[in-house]
């Protein structure tokens, strides 16, 4: 499987600079890059030099709006050319989105195409944030908030232009997406391995939102309405549901189905590591973007001593209370149904109502 990384970030946040630097690194050889630019004439691809083993292809228009199908065609095309030997046998794909793109539809395009799914796998989302203007951009541009919210890695760029890492923007990033490590970079210098080794569930990353997560969770896990940033992050919230006891697989499925049905569009990202009742020693990793989910992957073992189920939500206008009440009610329903079936089995009832 060839990993696909999505590189996003608002206009001027340093995506192309970062990519240009990465492509000069031997560790980043054999990379196919798809650059999406908003506008009829693209320039970014001319600003990027690659080694002989990598190549860049360009799309214009906004990937997330009208030409999502074009992305699937482009990916199919470079795979075909790879098979034919007319391009380098690349080992990874990077999609650089336009600065105005909503990344969710792009992730859907990568995750959701049957033919591509046999060759490509979504490896992670890297989002660049400008250390100088990032806080202001997050304040004014909703697209930038979504770009941060869906990230697996956040890259703080232009740190050479500020005397120290700006607390305001770091606080915002942590509040919006506490599970994504923030990597400050200078002149695009960063170890590719640190960027593109992102996994959906990274044991080394903070597994839970910080107490200051989302619309401002203060001490004691109660919403802190006086949080300095509560007013402008009010629609996007990050929160976690935790369960000590394993969750029946059917309860998890029902939970995700109801979430997708009622809140799919607002579920920016859901990641989780789950102790299923049917597989308590091999945790299931779940990952979804809006209403589209990967089938769960199973780890060989728990990455730490913490064997609780943890579901991390980054969502817009989705109250924690709803998610929590829903999981509670569905778990109770499944356990109750299971108990009824067990008692019926013990009593020897047959499905047609007769006794054995």
């Amino acid at each position: 499987m060839i990993p696909v990384c999505v590189l996003t970030g608002f206009l001027g946040s340093g995506k192309t600079t970062l990519l240009a630097k990465l492509l000069k690194s031997p560790a980043f050889a054999r990379t196919a890059v798809i650059i999406n630019e908003f506008g009829e004439v693209g320039l970014d691809h001319d600003l990027i030099e690659t080694s002989d083993e990598s190549f860049v292809t360009l799309q214009t228009g906004c990937l997330c709006c009208s030409i999502r199908g074009d992305l699937v065609l482009t990916l199919s095309d470079i795979l075909r050319r790879r098979d034919e030997g007319t391009v380098t046998p690349f080992e990874r794909v990077v999609i650089e989105t336009s600065g105005l793109a909503d990344p969710a539809p792009i992730l859907h395009a990568v995750m959701g195409d049957d033919a591509l799914a046999e060759r490509l796998t979504l490896a992670g989302v890297v989002t660049t944030v400008d250390a100088v203007h990032g806080a202001d951009t997050l304040e004014r541009q909703p697209e930038s908030v979504k770009q941060v919210a869906v990230a697996d890695r956040l890259v703080l760029t232009k740190t050479d232009l500020v005397p120290e890492h700006p607390a305001v923007v770091l606080d915002r990033l942590t509040a919006l997406n506490p599970s994504a490590p923030v990597l400050p970079v200078l002149f695009g210098d960063v170890d590719p391995a640190r960027l593109f080794d992102a996994r959906i569930w990274d044991p080394s990353a903070p597994s839970l939102p910080s107490p200051a997560c989302g619309a401002g969770l203060g001490k004691g896990n109660e919403p802190d309405r006086h949080s300095a940033h509560a007013h402008h992050d009010a629609r996007i919230e990050c929160f976690a549901l935790i369960r000590d006891e394993p969750i029946p697989a059917v309860a998890l499925t029902l939970f995700l189905e109801v979430l997708a049905e009622h809140c799919g569009a607002d579920l920016l990202r859901l990641k989780g590591i789950v102790a299923l009742a049917e597989s308590p020693d091999r945790p299931a990793v779940i990952h979804g973007v809006q209403h589209m989910f990967h089938a769960p992957g199973f780890l060989e073992r728990w990455p730490s001593d913490d064997r609780r189920s943890r579901l991390v939500f980054i969502a817009r206008d989705l109250p924690r209370e709803f998610a929590q009440a829903l999981l509670d009610a569905i778990e109770a329903e499944v356990r109750e149904t299971s108990k009824v079936h067990t008692e019926a089995d013990k009593a020897g009832f047959q499905p047609n109502g007769s006794r054995s």
Binding site: M1, E257, E261, E300, A325, D328
Partner: protein, 103 residues
């Protein structure tokens, strides 16, 4: 992190809490009240009455004098949403064909 055990409340209590949270999540103004083993939800001109049902129905929902059976929480929420938020178009859960690289 807030943690609520699924055993911490009775089933009617859990559904009462879920219905109240649902109205909030859907941005629907309304009121959900519990009286004994029955729950009433009022939103706009609609009033729904919920009670435990006899198998195979887990719940009965009374709307406009008509009682109907519902077999699950998912069905219950779907019915409520259709009544209080008829413009809503739900999404179906889609499982991506692409495999997850998690380890």
């Amino acid at each position: 992190m807030t943690q609520v055990s699924s055993d911490a409340a009775d089933t009617v209590g859990l559904v009462h809490r879920l219905l109240a949270a649902s109205l909030g999540a859907w941005h629907i103004a309304g009121r959900v009240e519990r009286e004994g083993e029955r729950i009433t939800l009022a939103a706009g001109d609609e009033r729904l009455l919920f009670a435990r049902g006899a198998p195979p129905f887990r719940w009965t929902v009374t709307l406009g004098g008509r009682e109907r059976g519902v077999t699950s929480i998912a069905g219950l929420l779907r019915l409520v949403r259709r009544v209080v938020d008829p413009e809503h178009q739900g999404n179906r859960l889609r499982i991506a064909p692409a495999r997850l690289t998690s380890s």
